[in-house]
Amino acid sequence: MEEPLYDVFARKERGEPLRHVGYLNALDDEMARVYAWKTYDEERWFEMCVIPRSAIIPVNRTDGPFATRGGQS
């Protein structure tokens, strides 16, 4: 079963920038929400969100994990 890749972003307090805290595989957005909350629970996050890796558009690099849409190199 091929599961899409999602990136997880979070901030601890209002006003802080969102930072990348990890990634996960999930069959759909709803599962990605739950997996993110249950996996990256080491902090009391003020805000957390997940983004499908395929939705990230690379801007200035041709290498690195975000360089190719979907994270596939």
Binding site: M1, E3, L24, N25, A26, L27, D28, E30, M31, R33, V34, Y35, W37, K38, T39, D41
Partner: protein, 266 residues
Amino acid sequence: MNAETTFKSVQDMDPDAREGLRRAILSLADGKRMMGIHYSDWLLGAPSIETGIAASSMAQDEWGHARLLYAMLKDFGMDPAVVEHERQASEYANPDALDQPLEDWAAVVAACVVVDGALSVALEGFSEGVYEPTRSRIPKMLAEEAFHDDLGTAWFRNLAGGSEEGRARLRDTVLSMLPSTLAWLMPGDEVGEAQAGSGLVPEGKVLHERFLERYGALLALVDVDLAAVEPDRDGWDSERGRGPGHPDDEAVARARGDLNRMLLVE
């Protein structure tokens, strides 16, 4: 229900209502303890690492909720440590559907939706009742349960739209769990009615309507007509508020933590 008049202690309650509340809290606590055992069985062997982590986290949630609920029994003159660690399997009051291990992932998903869902509907009822400890402590549990519900629903949709075998297993397990779980959710006996009549929880039919509203469309994805399923009250055990069986001894030994307690040094 008159939500303006609340009870800080069960000592101020009518004895029949108090017995109904005691039974319901114990049954919820045992349900959560057993639900946690079943989730923990799937820390390894879940369909993905992420799912296993979620199962682990949900097990911790359930055990935390059980611990809080057992602690509420102090108000009834019961010793929570005795309740947690010294009862036999035959005394457990969890919903019947949690008596046996969940044999496959479809059964885990079915239990997450049907049984964990019913536990949450019952908890939600308490949070609206007139007993203050349940009103104040349950909202946090419900917030955590919302993630269980989201995960169960997402997996249910996935399995319902997947292979014929997975769909059939899901449907069969749902149908096996529903009748006893509906009976547990709306006991309809004197103890349950005394409790509802005192405003401690909504009436059984209200909880049933909520369950239908929340899960009717989802269960229809595997051709289960939730509104047509009748509660099974055969052999009803009024003392425990459930059917006549009980969980197996091995699961209860784990719930009590027997092996861990053997290692304790006085």
